[in-house]
Symmetry: C2
Subunit: 219 residues, 2 copies
DNA sequence: CCTACCGATCGGTAGG
DNA sequence: CCTACCGATCGGTAGG
């Protein structure tokens, strides 16, 4: 899959001052690890974890095949790191929403928006792994990831509960939560920024689709 | 993954009359092919297409590794057949709903119910492949499957359109359709018959979540 | 981080 | 449908 390396390997020298010219081939920094994780996430998304070889990943960051294992002790340790990065990002965004302490309807809207940001923004490839590759983790890794994800989703429950009591949600909360997450998560499979649809418009759509006007607001 | 074959291979003899004793090891019928497709669907679901070897499949139906290729010319031809079987089933169910010609709300309800039946019933493993393994098809196979799936989903549009005009759907139809399919398709990942939830209750939930009462019905 | 290599397993085939 | 096998590729390692 990876046929040619575009650049020969230079010994790492002190970089010249002005004009960093940050190409993906440079290797003088400790963020090399992050490069690998990011590239791996992209390849895992395109070809699946089992459809991506460690050689593919190494090649895409300009290394030779065995060198990956200087940074990660195994292929699934790399997957674990990809998923952890995705969840860390999503959890961080969620936390920002929660500390604001708005009313339930506003909070839900912002949780949805925040989730779309995680799914469709720069961390999209990482979230794709979170959604579709947990099968390839070993038991210990899987437990950690599952717990994080479970906590992430559990946060929505009291918010939905409040809306349910207000009469804005017509379905029992645990089921509504699953259905809503299904609708949201499905967007990684069809959303394309080039569609010209904003994440704000998407968020509005979900709110309009799922949330009913409270009885008091009727005629 | 497959360590032992439980039974030796018997030459195919005429089966005795009474008591068919239809074990999966018997090989006197032309439905052997269907056995393979069904077993492959199950394994593809559990381990993914790339995580399942042709040896795993052969072993699970009691064959030796090379013998699979007497029935399928390649591994992805087998995947194609799995997916085709899933879509054929779903399209057949959908057709039954459409010929009944009910009002839009009833039709949508039955389309949802029919889709859940395809996703969560006996063809569940096949539909899982349809949803998650199309990446592993070659271009020609992919085109056929994508077209079938596209037709299947397009059928929902006029029904949703009618409900939108009646004021029961608060989101533009193409987007609503994607979100609803997301909510529905997500169920393959969490639904378990042992939860004690019926497909009817699930269907009701989706309708209650997404469909609003028409303005005429309000107080 | 590279070179050179390991044993295991992969999809698939020839010949019966 | 089995036996026996092919070349290719896999994740990972030793030694520098």
């Amino acid at each position: 899959m990876c046929a040619a390396r575009s650049l020969p390997t230079f010994a790492a020298t002190k970089r010249p001052r002005g004009r960093p010219r940050k190409t993906s081939q440079e290797r003088n920094e400790g963020n090399r690890r992050q490069d690998i994780v990011k590239v791996a996430a992209k390849l895992f998304r395109r070809h699946g974890f089992n459809g991506t070889s460690t050689r593919d990943i190494a090649c895409a960051v300009g290394m030779h095949s065995g060198s990956l294992f200087c940074h990660f002790k195994s292929k699934d340790a790399l997957l674990y790191e990809v998923m952890w990065e995705g969840l860390r990002n999503a959890l961080a965004r969620q936390m920002i929403v929660l500390v604001a302490e708005h009313d339930a309807a506003t909070t839900l809207r912002q949780l949805i928006r925040s989730h779309f940001d995680a799914l469709l923004g720069p961390s999209s490839d990482f979230m794709h792994a979170v959604l579709y590759e947990s099968r390839s983790l070993n038991t210990r890794q899987h437990n950690v990831i599952a717990k994080l994800q479970s906590n992430y989703e559990a946060t929505w429950t009291p918010v939905l509960q409040e809306l349910s009591l207000a009469g804005c949600l017509q379905v029992e909360v645990p089921l509504a939560r699953r259905l809503i997450f299904g609708a949201l998560n499905g967007s990684v499979r069809w959303f394309n920024p080039k569609m010209g649809m904003s994440i704000d418009a998407l968020t509005d759509a979900v709110v309009d689709l799922c949330l009913h006007a409270p009885p008091a607001n009727r005629a």
